[in-house]
């Protein structure tokens, strides 16, 4: 194989592996990769895009909810639950964990901690988003250069 392509492949693999190693993504993402096939070559990209659109809306709602005079903690809890479920769909493990911590403080009605958690949550989302964008970009480059994405291995 073209050494250039091999290098691109390696870079893609490293990026992907780091995502899992750092716990940013978990098994579920691998499951998604297995779902992608010739019929839906952009399945992962589309799904991830859906997730981020949805989660950005939820984050916005959370901010506005926590900014209320009388914070509706029940609504906040519902939003967190939604985000937790959504993040589990693409395997964004750290986002899911951040949701769990957030929910605990929400149930304790600790506004200060809630705000902190929300900030944390937002950062985790940005992290996974940027990492995935990098991964997709590497994929595009690889494919554009005529290479192919290495078959995903469950164990990395």
């Amino acid at each position: 194989m073209d050494p250039r392509l091999r290098q691109m492949q390696r870079r893609w693999t490293d990026c992907r592996n780091s995502l899992f190693r750092e716990g940013i993504l978990d098994d579920m993402f691998m499951e998604l990769q297995e779902l992608q096939d010739e019929r839906n070559p952009d399945f992962i990209v589309e799904t991830v895009a859906l997730f981020f659109t949805n989660s950005e809306n939820l984050i916005r709602d959370l901010y506005s909810e926590l900014a209320q005079q009388n914070v509706g903690f029940r609504r906040v809890d519902a939003r967190i639950h939604q985000l937790k479920g959504s993040s589990s769909s693409i395997g964004a493990k750290r986002v899911t964990n951040a949701c769990i911590a957030f929910r605990d403080f929400c149930r304790a009605r600790n506004l200060t901690e809630c705000l902190r958690c929300l900030q944390q949550l937002k950062e985790e989302l940005l992290l996974v988003k940027s990492k995935l964008e990098t991964l997709f970009e590497l994929e595009n480059q690889l494919v554009a250069a005529g290479g192919s994405i290495p078959r995903v291995q469950r164990s990395f």
Partner: protein, 583 residues
Amino acid sequence: MMESSKGFSSPRSTAFPAGLRVLVVDDDPTWLKILEKMLKKCSYEVTTCGLARDALKLLRERKGGYDIVISDVNMPDMDGFKLLELVGLEMDLPVIMMSVDGETSRVKKGVQHGACDYLLKPIRMKELRNIWQHVFRKRIHEVRDIESHEGLEGLQVTQSGFDQFDDGHFFSGEDMLTPAKKRKDLENKHDEKDFTDSSSSTKKARVVWSVDLHQKFVKAVNLIGYDRKDVTCLVCSAEVGPKKILDLMNIPWLTRENVASHLQKYRLYLSRLQKENDLKISYGGMKHSDLNPQDAARALSRQNSINFEQNDATNCNSRISGNNLLIQNLNSKSNEINPRGTTITEKSSPGISHSLSPLEQEMKFPAIDGITPGSYSWREVPEIQFHQENAGNQPEDCFRRVAVPMGGLQNHVQIDQLLPVTSISSKAQLPNLIETKPLNVDYAISSFTQASPVKTRIDSFPVPTKIHTGNQQAIQPPSTNKPSMESQAFNPSCVTNLESSQRNFSSTTPESAFTSPDEVLQVGWLQDYSTCLGLQNIEFPDFGDPSMVAEVPMHLYTALKFDFEQLSDQSELPVINQGLFIA
């Protein structure tokens, strides 16, 4: 988002479980997309819905168009458990719940509400591969039921909507059926029928728990614990076993399994009502505002509580405001039309009193005495029924004793009764109900409250109007006259809707026979009365032949059928339930 499934009614070209028609409901678009992909990879036919409301609409519109439903627990427009219950009641489809929350209590709740499985998110594809087993399991049970009353003359065999389990598919795997048959052999004392023939040649029939049948069931249940005041406890106790009930019921073609599953549903229903018992409801008249389903349910359950004596008639009255309106119409009409004249009132009192439980008596009598177009009409109807029943029907008396709050059940029953009513009118024989024209609607208890935590499937309840009227011709004259009166009472559109609902009931397929309780209710109520119950989602499904409805007091059936919990005014509900149940 809603996508139509492709060829949901078309026969499958591949072997089961491929082509399994799955309806996925989830408010999370990401999960919806993923699940769709996963299920398609399993070779299933997938339809997705982002709202529970849409899902219900789809399910109702395409009865028999889906094999299984997978739904998330947390959804914005409707609680997943509620949807679960409704689907189970109306369509009798297996429902799988999903959630990212795996708390034991939630899972428990799912099971209690009738979920056949509870998946934790994130869901892997391999978990979805095996969901067909739930569909298969249900079909196995149904086939067993079919065989049990295969030869029953006049038994209405209903299409179970299980298209793909046609001869080609389902029975191609006859070996799969053999175990079921063997099981049946062991458990059944009935004559062995050729399983293959019966199953493959006929449409799949299910045990239709007609009003009459359910009456017998409840009667048997009560006989077992006759001394017990608290029927709810009784039913939930270990004493009340399917075998005992089956023996008491003495229905040759009924199997122990039929009774067992029915008992389970009945228990769930009772426990749900009991839970709701502590809610004090005092609704006056119909409310236009959104109903609090839980309040309504609680009101209903309270009403239905065995400790009925504590509830006064007014309380009952107020609770069933929704029904009241219909009943009122019905009532006044029946008063006018009833050939027996005002004797109904008089007769029913004594007639009912002895057979009614104390609770019922209290409920009924005020209704009877105070028959006015606007008040106790609802109760009135049952009263009339009782009377008629009383006149010549011993079994009915026993049923009246059942003071079980079977609101939902009764509702359901009502619908069922709609069908046989027309036939009943010619021969007022209760037995005929079961034998000649089993209610088409099987376990579809659409009338069950949406908020009810427990999914109970009770097909028919002793609806006062139908069953008993069947026995007594009294109901007929009122019935015949009713349509005209009804049209006067209701807006034309309303009547049409009601009729269409009725038509629906009269259809021969269980799937089509059902309208959502709230739909039916809304038709009757909203159209006719300004005080809207705040019922949402008024939908009028396509219905079949309206002729069946002609003689049936639509109000009554409609009222009975509606979703109690959607009514803001629950005061009447218990009464109705009582009446229905007894009658």
